[in-house]
Each structure stands twice: as C-alpha cells, then as structure tokens.
Symmetry: C2
Subunit: 259 residues, 2 copies
C-alpha cells in the first residue's frame, strides 16, 4: 500500500488586529468533514502576527544612531532598520537592501519584519511567541471541537545559495518538529549518517504550495493523512552556530561575526 | 472552493546500477489511475544516482595530498574526502566531520557524497546531470504513456541555522522551478517585496514527508492536483554568492572565502 496525504488551502478574509485566529480557521474550514483528529494546521506567520497586533506604523518610529548607520551601510530604509534592530537578537551583517539577523536561534533577513500584506505605511513583525500561540490555538480547537490537531506557524524564507523562498516552521505545537532517526538503518542495513529530519519545515513547505505570498488570502492549510502522532511537544529545536555547517564555516573564517 | 493536492509515496525495490528508473517508476505506480497529465514525479537523487552507476568503491580511491590535508583539518575520512574533492567545484570550508562545498552553483555538505543507502564500502555521488536525467525521464514517460509529467530530482539538505534536513530540488524538467511573482500585489494592493517562490524546493520537501531517508524503499513520490503548467523548462536557477544574503555576509567578512 502506498502512503499518501493531502494538503488543503483554506481561504479567509483579511485578518486584522484583535481577530481570533482560531475562530477564523474554524469558520473558514470547508475541507471534507471539516477537521479530523491528526490533521496538521499550518498558519502563515503574517496572519497570526496581524491578528496579534504585531503591526508597527513607520511614521511613529524614530531611527536610532545605530539604525541610521546600518541603513547607510546597507542601503536600507532607516525607520524599517530601526524596527529590524529592535526585533533582532543580533545583526550578523547585510547585503544592499537586507540585514541578516539572528532571532530566537534562527538566521533570517530583516528579522522577519515585512512590509508585504500589511496596511500602507506599516510593517508586520514576527509573532511574539509562535510556539505559545501554536499551543493556544491547539487548545482552543480542542475545546471547541474535541479534535487534537498539530499546529505549525510557517514563514517563507530564503536559504543559502538557493533562489526563491520556501516554507519553514517558526512555531510548532502537538507534533515532533524534528524527528531523530538515530539507530535506524539504511537500505543496506547500515546506520544512517544523517539522522535528523526537519518534519515541520517540510510540512511548512508543503503548505506554502497552496498558500502563496500574494493576494491569495489563503493563510491557512490543512495537512491530512500524514499519520504523525499528535503529542504535547512544543517548539522547533534550533542549533548552535558552531554546530551549523554554514555558520561554522563563516565563524571559522571570521570569529568576530557573532560578537 | 479550497485548493488541494495530494502526495503519494511510491515504493520500489532496491535500485542498482543499470536499472531503468523510468521503468521502475511505471512498474511501481499503484496510485489511483496510475499517472495523470500534470502529475509531478519526485525522484530521490540517491535512487537516480544508483541507477546511473554513480557508486564509488572506497578501496579503489587513493587520497591526494590535498585530500589528506583537508581530512586532517576537518577530521574526515581521507578516501571520502578525496571523492568529495573530485565532486566539488570548490571547498568553502568545513566543521569537524563535514566539508562545505560549492557544486553546480549550490552550497552543500560533502558535495552530496553519501554513504547511506549505498552498499558497504561504497559511497554514492550526486547524479552527473540531474536536469538532463529529469528531461530524459519526462520524455521516456511521454513515449511510453502519452502523459506529460513534471520531473523533480530531490535531495535532502541542511540549511543555515536549521536543525534537520529538508527537501530541495537539484534537478527539474517540465515545470517552472522558481516562480517569479514580480508585479503581483499583496493583500493591500502593494507590490510584493519578495517575489520569488522556490516551487520545486517546496515540492521536494512535500515529497520528502512520504519518502524518508532510511529503509523505507520509497524513493519516488507523485504530486497530484497542484495545477502547475507542464512546460519545457529545464533546471533550477541558482544565484550568485554576492546576491545571496547568507554568502554575501560571509564574503563581506572574508573576501577570500571563494578563492
């Protein structure tokens, strides 16, 4: 028997601050039999952030000296740069038009601050606590429907030397985000060399194919049939820069990169 | 109407040098109605490489001086290091146990040379020409069935500061691998800031969820219902290191990194 699963894109209206994202999802669901135990619900981080009011009016932002210097060096908008600076744990560097930032153990352009799909003159930051929001949504859905679903908060990101954005999970509740295959054997009975699978990132990518980045108004996807256990795990584990092949190489060549 | 698509994992036997991968796929297909126009067939690069005989016996490899020096510096197996060196366009650096390599415009650990899912004492290299193989498979399937399918050759790779591997496309024929959304508007009618979507990478990730890395013997997935146009485009576009945010930052901090 071949395994299979299905991805449904869920359309909603525009989501604004104060909206309850759980209610919006439950209202919008028109997939067969609405929701089932074991479904995984993928939510675009921008929709979650909008509902949580993570919207900043650029008019009200005064760039600091540090932001002005960064914006001169990397040709970025000064007020946007100030927001990026506030949202980042550290600035790793930049190329013209973008800053590369560390935030919550991941590396991302402009700390996830985005002018797309936000009202004119505003930017949307990442949700404050994507894992916490995922858990809250999981619990609200269980309370309202009796169904246990996995929740992933997804972002669309570029990767080193890849053209174009693909989906990554920035928040997770109810499934194991990274599965450890240690001890499993390959086709020839040898121990696997690479043992960790980014399940939640793969699911976020699968969802992105029906969600889109433009005016599709499809900020939610349901993944049905994957057969993953719904558990009480929270979060997407991150790695230390020194254990990351890409950043390890960059740090070896310039030890001050993270200072 | 909500959009949806389905992913089917396709089991095969172990694939060995000389196998015709097209025949193996067509024999193994048991999805509803076997194959349909517009289906996308995702093939694990390791299965393709095995069928194409990209298997190297480590006993027959004599490490060069350069390989010996790299293996001392990064604590890698000398014969494997020699194979990695031959397979790479350049070595960017390394961390203990892994070399970071440039190959065909992408950045990857050990140039894709892998000891998993290869017979004892051997390693499998990446397929020599994944785009060409994808086109050949597309043509063979059309000749045998009259069906036009998109073909993606997929690998499983780590990304900067992400734990675990996720799917990426290293070869493509018949679909647009990276879609350019330039000129499209966001929810509020503004031009999109990020306009390129890594469609083929997202599809490779969606497929990986049913393919696995261990002894699943599921090296093929069918993606049905995405609605992508099947065209005559070949390849996954790459970017210049200077235009890549991650490598741009690393190069700014150490201009000799790519020399």
């Amino acid at each position: 028997m071949n395994s299979s699963y299905t991805v449904f894109g869920i359309k909603t209206g525009i989501i604004i601050p104060g909206d309850n994202i759980t209610d919006i999802i439950l209202c919008a669901l028109k997939v067969p039999d609405t929701l089932k135990d074991g479904d995984i619900i993928v939510i675009a981080e921008s929709a979650l952030a909008s509902s949580e009011g993570c919207i900043i009016k650029l008019d009200e932002v005064k760039p600091s000296e540090a932001a002005l210097e960064l914006s001169r060096r990397y040709n970025t908008e000064p007020r946007l740069t100030e927001v990026v600076l506030r949202e980042s744990d550290s600035i790793v560097g930049g190329i013209p038009g973008f800053l590369l930032c560390m935030k919550s153990g991941t590396l991302l352009p402009n700390a996830g601050v985005d002018g797309s799909n936000a009202p004119e003159g505003t930017v949307v930051t990442l949700p404050k606590n994507p894992d916490g929001s995922a858990e809250r949504i999981h619990n609200e859905i269980f309370e309202k429907t009796g169904i246990r679903a996995g929740i992933i908060i997804a972002d669309s990101r570029t990767h080193a030397m890849r053209l174009g954005c693909s989906g990554v999970a920035i928040g997770c509740y109810g499934i194991t985000a990274v599965s450890d295959e240690k001890g499993r054997k390959d086709l020839f009975g040898r121990a696997l060399e690479v043992t960790e699978l980014a399940i939640a990132d793969n699911i976020a990518s699968a969802a992105e194919l029906v969600m889109g980045e433009a005016n599709e108004s499809t900020p939610v996807a349901i993944i049905r049939g994957l057969g993953l256990e719904i558990n009480k795990e929270s979060g997407v584990q991150s790695i230390e820069p020194s254990g990351c092949l890409f950043m390890g190489v960059a740090m070896n060549s310039n030890p001050s990169l993270f200072n």
